[in-house]
Each structure stands twice: as C-alpha cells, then as structure tokens.
Symmetry: C2
Subunit: 428 residues, 2 copies
C-alpha cells in the first residue's frame, strides 16, 4: 500500500506585467502566477502529482494558503484507494462542510480543490503510463459518470443521460485516437491581441499568426471604442478575409453598452464576443446574445462551477463554452461541464494562456473529441505563446494545431528549476 506523504505548495510568480503580455480591458498589468502543488507518496516509484491554480499575481499567496488547508484530506491516506475512486475523492474535498462555507463551490477554495484534484489526476495518469486525455478516453462510460457529481444538475442532465452520451461515442474511439495523434486538434491564437501592444506590433503579430497556420485570432476590446475600431481594421487587413477574428471584452460592459459597442464592430465579421459582462450574469448574457445575434457569445473562463455553466446553457446565454483548467474544481468538474455542453450541443473552445493553461486544458478537449462528442467541428483551443518553457511537457502547437501529448501525466508539471527560481515565500 502507498500512502500520501506530503502535499507541498509553492507561490510561483512571473513578472509578465513588465512586457504588458496579457493586458486587457480589465487586467492592465497581470503578473502571471501559479499556486503550485505537489503530491508525494511513499510508493517508491518516484512519481509525483503536480498541478496548480493560475492567478495573475497579488493573492497567489492566498491561493497557496487555500491549497494548504486541504492537506488533511490527503496526507496519511491510502493513495491507491484515493486514486481508484476519483469521484469519491473529489466529493470528499468539495463536500467538506466547513470549507464549503467559504464558497460554496466558488472562488479561492474551489480553485484550491481543483489544483489538489488535478495533482491526483496527474499522479494517476503517470502511474497508468498514459497522458491524461488518453487515460480518460479509455475509461468506460460508467467509470466516467462516476467521476461526476450530479447534485444540482439533474434538471438539465441526469446520470443516465450522461451515460447515453458517452455510450453513443464509444464507437470510433480508437480511430479518433489515431486521427488525433496524426492530425492534432485545431487551435487559435490570442498572441497578437493584447491591449498593451502598439499598432505596429499588432499588425506584425497578426501576419505571423497567419504564417504560422492559425485560422483564428482574438483581439482584446472594451477599453475605448475608437481604438477598437482602428485595431480591428488593422487586424482584418493583416489577416485577410478568411481568418476568423474573435473579440474579448473581459467583462467590461453592462447589457446596453455591450449591444451598442458590438454593433459598431460588427462590420469586421466577428467570430465571437467573449466575456461581454459579469461572468455571474446568466440573464445579462442571454439578453446580450439575443441583442447581437447571429454573432455568438463566448464565456466560461471565470465561471465558478458546473451550476453556472448549466444555467448559461439552459438560458441560451452562450454559444461558445470556454471552460478553464484551473477555475473550477479540476478534471472531475470539467467532465461534468463537457457532458453538459454535449447535451446542449454547444461547442467547447477552452480558455488557455496564462501559466500552463494550454498544457493542462488540451487534455480535456482531446478527451472530448475521442470519447464525448466525437468531433472538433467548430471547436478550437486557445493558444498563447507564453511561459511554455517552464513545463516538463510543453505543448506542441504546429501549423495552427495542438499535437497531442504522449508523455504520461496531465501536462501540469513545471521544471523544478522554474519553480525554485520564481518561488516567493518558499515553505519547503
């Protein structure tokens, strides 16, 4: 029997605000950071589970404290047992009644649970000798739904419906694995579009994106309408008529503002409008979606949990669902969200970028392609070319596509030197 011997944390920060990488209408100067966790066992196999919560600087220490508050759920416990029943393990974390008060199921405490769950998934995948996407894609429908907590979901998705969705996708799993390994999964790039870049840099990065094979880019908008019109003009001219351009307002608007602002930009053939308003506002997003149709509304990176995603789908408040690898409570909750999206027939185009979000989230889209929806039609994974060098298995994005990782694990392991060199307040 292997026991969990340690849950180690580290407060890892990169001074990205110095270059204005990541600058948008709500986040002028992010310092991309990771509240990092390592789960160790006494198995003697040298396998360690790694994961993190992505933050943008200040407060990363609070996120680390929240991860540390979960140690008693793991340390000293039987690792084999915890990893064999990841659904039960997840519920044990999420339904800790005292910690639940701090959310419930949202914010700092919920993201901390996500990091701990994801570290266990990294360890489980390493033990299985498989990349996470393949580990998940080879589980039975029943094993997969056992990972999901259907509490608060049954008015939109029952366990039986979820099994039926997964059962329908069982045929063809093997061929789609092969296809994915051969062709990769479509990506789009946000690299050109940060608000802090000047026009020359914007145009150059747009041209480079096309040269690199991307068929969609994304621009940050929402700070100044005049600037947005000028920057969209520059971008559209640089990429030509056939490359899709999405825009991202990072929650800047109220309902009426959003609709009016987007009307001014609609002549540029907008692929989607991302985060037009508060990520908590189902009804406002629904109103905006009606107001700007047929331009789709995209959101999800700040959506707190599966209950919020459920409502956005029920209310037709989003047309593109952007799950995030570290916002909700980890792989388990993201499987629930993938199943909800499949039930409602809405494409999932994950949020990525930051620190390691690309490395982490690709596994979820690839699992979805192989074992849930069976398609990547109308789906793209965000790509931002930042900070990949710090990861042991960095993403392989070529010709505008994510090429699947084959190394065992969840992709969430940073180089020891990267953690050490960028660690504040080390706690061992």
């Amino acid at each position: 029997m292997a026991r969990i011997t340690a849950l180690e944390t580290a407060d890892v920060r990169f001074p990205t605000s110095l270059s204005l990488d990541g600058s948008d209408a709500m986040n002028p100067d992010p310092d991309y950071s990771a509240a990092y966790v390592r789960v160790r066992t006494d198995a003697g196999d040298d396998l360690v589970g790694h994961a993190f919560v992505f933050t943008i600087g200040r407060g990363n220490d609070v996120q680390v404290a929240a991860i540390r508050a979960l140690a008693h759920h793991l340390v000293g416990r039987d690792a084999d047992e915890l990893l064999a029943d990841m659904g039960g393990t997840w519920r044990g974390l999420v339904h800790d009644s005292q910690l639940r008060w701090l959310g419930p199921e949202k914010g700092v405490m919920h993201m901390a649970i996500g990091a701990v769950a994801n570290a266990l998934w990294d360890l489980k995948a390493k033990r299985a000798g498989l990349p996470l996407w393949q580990l998940l894609a080879r589980m039975t429908p029943e094993e997969l739904v056992d990972l999901v907590d259907f509490r608060y979901l049954t008015d939109a998705l029952t366990r039986d419906e979820a099994v039926a969705i997964l059962r329908a996708a069982e045929t063809g799993r093997a061929q789609r694995e092969e296809q994915l390994l051969r062709e990769g999964y479509p990506a789009y790039t946000t690299t050109p579009g940060w608000l802090g870049y000047d026009d020359e840099k914007l145009a150059r990065l747009c041209r480079e994106a096309v040269e690199e094979g991307f068929t969609q880019i994304k621009l940050k908008v929402g700070a100044d309408l005049h600037d947005d019109v000028r920057r969209l003009g520059i971008a559209r001219q640089a990429v030509g008529p056939d490359v899709r351009i999405a825009v991202d307002a990072n929650q800047r608007w109220d309902v009426a503002d959003a609709i009016a602002w987007i009307k001014e930009l609609s002549s540029f053939d907008i692929a989607w409008v991302e985060e037009p308003t508060s990520p908590d506002d189902v009804l406002a997003h629904a109103a905006i979606a009606r107001g700007i149709a047929p331009i789709p509304v995209a959101t999800g990176e700040h959506m707190a949990n599966r209950v919020m995603f459920k409502q956005f789908l029920q209310a037709e408040a989003l047309q593109v669902l952007q799950l995030d690898a570290t916002r909700v409570a980890g792989v388990n909750e993201n499987i629930a969200i993938l199943l909800l999206a499949a039930k409602f027939g809405v494409p999932v185009c994950p949020h990525a970028g930051g620190v390691g979000l690309c490395e982490a989230v690709q596994h979820l889209s690839m699992f979805d392609f192989v074992a849930v929806t069976g398609t990547h039609e109308g789906r793209v994974i965000e790509f931002v070319d930042h900070l990949h060098e710090h990861f042991v298995t960095p993403v392989a994005v070529r010709d505008g596509r994510y090429h699947p990782p084959t190394a065992p694990g969840a992709g969430t392991e940073m180089h020891a030197a990267s953690v050490a060199d960028h660690c504040m307040n080390p706690d061992g």
Copy 2:
C-alpha cells in the same frame, strides 16, 4: 491628518460543534468562527475599526490570509480621505485587478474585502459618534448612491432610479427613527430548529420562543423527510396555529426533489422555504418558486454578490431576500442589494446567527426601515441566541424584537479577551 497604521487579523474559533448548535442538513458540525480584523490609525483618538468574516471553522485561516492580502490598500494611507469617500475606497478594493482574478467578486477574496470595508464603516461610525444604522439613515440620497457600484446593475437598477427610491423615503425619516427606538424591529428565532436537537429539546425551545414573544420560528429540514414531518408536527403543536414556521433546507435538494419534499410539508402552513438548492442557481430557484407557490422561496445567505441578487429578483426566483452581513463585500454592496430589493418590492429578512451576524446585520434592516423602504411590514431579522456575550455591544432582543443599538459603531467589535482567548495562530 490621520494615517492608517495597521490592519491586524486574528483567527477566532469557537468549538460549537460540541453542542450541535448550528447543525443542519449540509453543515452537521460547524465550529463558528470569525476571521477578525482591526484597523488602527495614528489619530490619537483611541478609535479602532473592527469587523470580521463569519466562517464555520476549517478554512478560517485562509479567510484571515485573504484579509491580510488587502493590507497594502490601507496601511500608510490617509484615513480621513478613505473614510470620506467610502464609495471610492470600496471600488479600490473590489477592482484591484490582480486580486479580482481570485473571484471575481465572490468567495474568500470578496468576503475579505467585505470585512475590511466593514471595519472602515465601524471606524467611520465611531468617529461620527453614531450607530451605523443612524449614520447611514442620515446621509443624503446622493451620498448613499455614491457608495454603490452600479456596474452590472443598470439593466435592473440605475443610479437615477436608486436616488428616486431614496428621495421618496426622505419624508418621515425622523419619525421612523423615533418609532424604531421606541418599538424595535421584528425578529424571528432559529434557536429551536437545529437538526442535531432531539424532539424533547425541540418542543421545549419552541414553547420558550413563543413565551419570549417571537411570532415566527424556523426549522432545519432536508436530511430525512420522515423526520421533517415528525419535527414539524411537534413544532406546530408547540407553537400553536398563529406562530409562523419557516423551514430551511440549506441547499440540500435538486429542483424535482425540492418541489416533491415541500408538497409533503405544506399541510404545516410553511412561512417560507429557505435555500432549497444551490445558491448559484437562479433558474432552479425560479422553477421551485413556481412549483411550490404560494409558499415563498427565501435565499441569500450564500449569494456571492449583487449580480446574483439582481438576477434572482429579475427571475422571480425568491420572494424573501436574506442578505448577510459578511458574505458580500460589506455595507456598500448590501446597500446596493437593499436598493435592488426596494426596486422589485421584495421584503428583506436578513440571515443572522453564527458569530456576530445579528450584531452586524440589524444595522442594515434598521437603515432600510428609516431611509429606504420606510416599512418593516412582512420583514423580520433572524435571531439565534449564540455567542452574543463576546461582543462589546451585544444585540438587545426583547419581546421578539431587535431594539436598536445606540452605541457608536457597526456592532462588530468583540471583547479583546474573547478574541485573545479563542485566537488560533495569533499573528500579533
């Protein structure tokens, strides 16, 4: 000029789980706790701002860490300036773009902002020599709306509409202050209804509640239907037909369960059904409200922010609004919520209990009575007879009514000895 010299924190915990006080269907063994904060200045007047976030035990240390992460917003700054523009001060805290990522506007980080804002309100009221309710009730409509952030609210409530609501209530403020001081504000009690109490204790506490002058009690339900029917029978027999009995499921159900369960209890003449499901689920609450009408749905103690309250009102998903003194970002956000409730004509019956929630929240209802809605018709403040002895100005509940505090401040100051005796991991 006075400067803020320190933001001190303390991790204060009471071992309430030993007596099963506070036990319900989702929280079997809470240890009522306070992430406590003191704001000091160099004014030389001995006035200190006190406030806290209420939690139920584990994780109180995480909440303390979040409060500490806000110190740089206050320490070294001009206290007079911060207190003179509490709207601007609040926005400075909530719109810290890096910290905002940890919510946004929800969970641990948002509650921490609430505690810091409330400590400033306590200090401001002490400086003014007034209890908080009176300080607020004597501000002009323009001063009050300046405290509110209307971002994400304008599809339901504009600044002008808010001014109009407050303007309409200006007549009669002085008479209502006098009436309040004379008669108090109606209360109801949850003391009898915790799930962990046996039938004999339930019946005895119900009888005592009636003897003490309460006209409404509340019972926890949702763990076992058979038990709920038996306990409601005991309670109804003990209090007679004229005392209102509310029930509280503490988020235990999905939509169909909630409707079915409540139908089984409806013969007991239920005053309201509280927290039937996830506090994030606007659409589920709306469906439940339609399904159990005319029994009202009550919720709010776990609702993350004003955007969620707005939607619940827009969707007719609640008929009784239960704001909480320490869940959202403090007095400012609760004023926004009171204004939203006034706009939609929904009664506010605050959540209280825990540690110091009664002491804190009474100020909001009393302010509402004097300066917002001008009525307490159909409104009651929750009362639980726990832990009041630790507060410098404990609530005065007599004859089933809260009698207004007259001491300067927000009611949120604990005795120094109580903090010291129950403090874990003291940080000075």
